[in-house]
Symmetry: C2
Subunit: 232 residues, 2 copies
DNA sequence: TAAAGCCAAAATTTATAAATAATTGGGCCG
DNA sequence: CGGCCCAATTATTTATAAATTTTGGCTTTA
């Protein structure tokens, strides 16, 4: 199974620092804490009900992951977004996941193909929005979406590379969240996932990689044009 | 110039947490703090003369970079080494830097070629060991060595990718430090760097990438065989 | 009058220290 | 062998102190 891929620490009791780290990260990625916002310790301490020690530990962890920028002696800020970064992240993801998918397919096993099929089926079944007309984020969708993409590259044979891909996915997730409400009606993302699955099952690496990269590029293009309005 | 590539924060005053972070990282990478060692707070506080706040902040940063492993409720340990990780890191570095070098060469400029030439010249001039017969680490060598490799991929156009490469270099550096004294007389690493430079200047991407990957693979092979004795 | 420079007060971040809580691991005893 | 208690360590809170940045007003100068 691949259900234990994303988080290594399964049954660890979790310290407060780890808990607050996860909450902060989630709030940043969903832009509940908007890009560029100052993260004042007093505000966060009462907002999340923690002491300064676990709070600062969480902020320091987020700093090395670049979700938070720490200005020495001047406190912490939520990392800014920019069109340039969106492009760089997307380009990098296309390169690296292209590579990882190729390797993954080279190591393909029957169990992996079956897991991928299941992951895709779950994705296909989960509605993107909780309401058909207006967009209301369905938190389950992101989970199964991530699982599908993680399974794709999961057999590449490099944990460091998988970790890097996960980080790229996180950083790009925030950009997606910024424009999703607007882009929701336009995009037909389900077909793209199906096409990728078909290519993988047909063992056509070149095609699979091309489709995966196209998928990421299209997503970025939609966000890119939206970003004009959002950054104004 | 490319002299400001590695560290973004040039003139920041640096907090204690940042200072202790850098010292700990250096001590772990050079194996002055050996793999697997328990990092007790009391010991570190007196060893480095800092309070627990900046210390824990530093440890938390190192945790997200995987130089330190944090067992929840059970303190921190220096990340272990293993032959498997050495192989994974090397494989990943070959993939990713191969990709980055190809991109870099596609974006090649005259200034870049000249910077590379200079970087190689400096590397060529700097002795590996302070003494000709026995090995005594020359700290300058690692600096110029890193600069040469960083310049090679510096034009790839992706800061996230460069950051990832830097992290891989850090993590592999520790393995090199473990076996360098033994491997010193055997290896003729100077020629390999020259060959890479030649291929780049000849604009032969395929050859340059192949030589770079061979360079990393050979290094790993030497360490790999040494590691039997070192892990026993 | 406006702009620039300067100084002191206020706010904030950073660091220390000490006390408390929580958890682990080992040893003892039944 | 299992359960319980104790010692050691880690995690967290709280309070406080030190250092630094920010703010706002004041003066000086163009």
């Amino acid at each position: 199974m691949s259900s234990d891929l994303p988080s290594q620490k399964v049954d660890q009791p979790a310290t407060l620092a780890t808990t607050i780290y996860a909450r902060l990260k989630a709030d940043i990625l969903t832009t509940r804490l908007e890009p560029g916002r100052k993260l004042q310790s007093r505000f966060l301490m009462e907002q999340y009900n923690v002491g300064q020690t676990p709070l600062r530990e969480a902020l320091n962890r987020l700093t090395t992951e670049e979700f938070v920028v720490g200005m020495e002696q001047r406190g912490f800020y939520v990392k800014e977004v920019s069109k340039e970064e969106l492009q760089e992240l997307t380009k990098t993801r296309c390169w690296v996941e292209g590579l990882a998918l190729r390797e993954s397919m080279q190591n393909a096993t029957q169990a992996w193909e079956e897991a991928l099929l299941v992951a895709h089926h779950r994705l296909d079944r989960t509605p993107r929005s909780l309401q058909p007309d207006t967009f209301e984020d369905n938190p389950d969708w992101e989970k199964v979406h991530r699982a599908f993409h993680a399974t794709l590259i999961g057999l590449c044979g490099s944990r460091p590379l998988l970790g890097f891909c996960e980080q790229l996915a996180d950083r790009l997730y925030r950009y997606r969240m910024m424009s999703i409400a607007k882009a929701y009606p336009a995009r037909k993302v389900g077909a793209e996932h199906s096409d990728i699955l078909q290519a993988v099952l047909a063992r056509d690496s070149e095609q699979a990689v091309r489709l995966l990269q196209q998928h990421y590029r299209r997503t970025a293009d939609v966000i890119y044009s939206d970003l004009d309005g959002l950054l104004a």
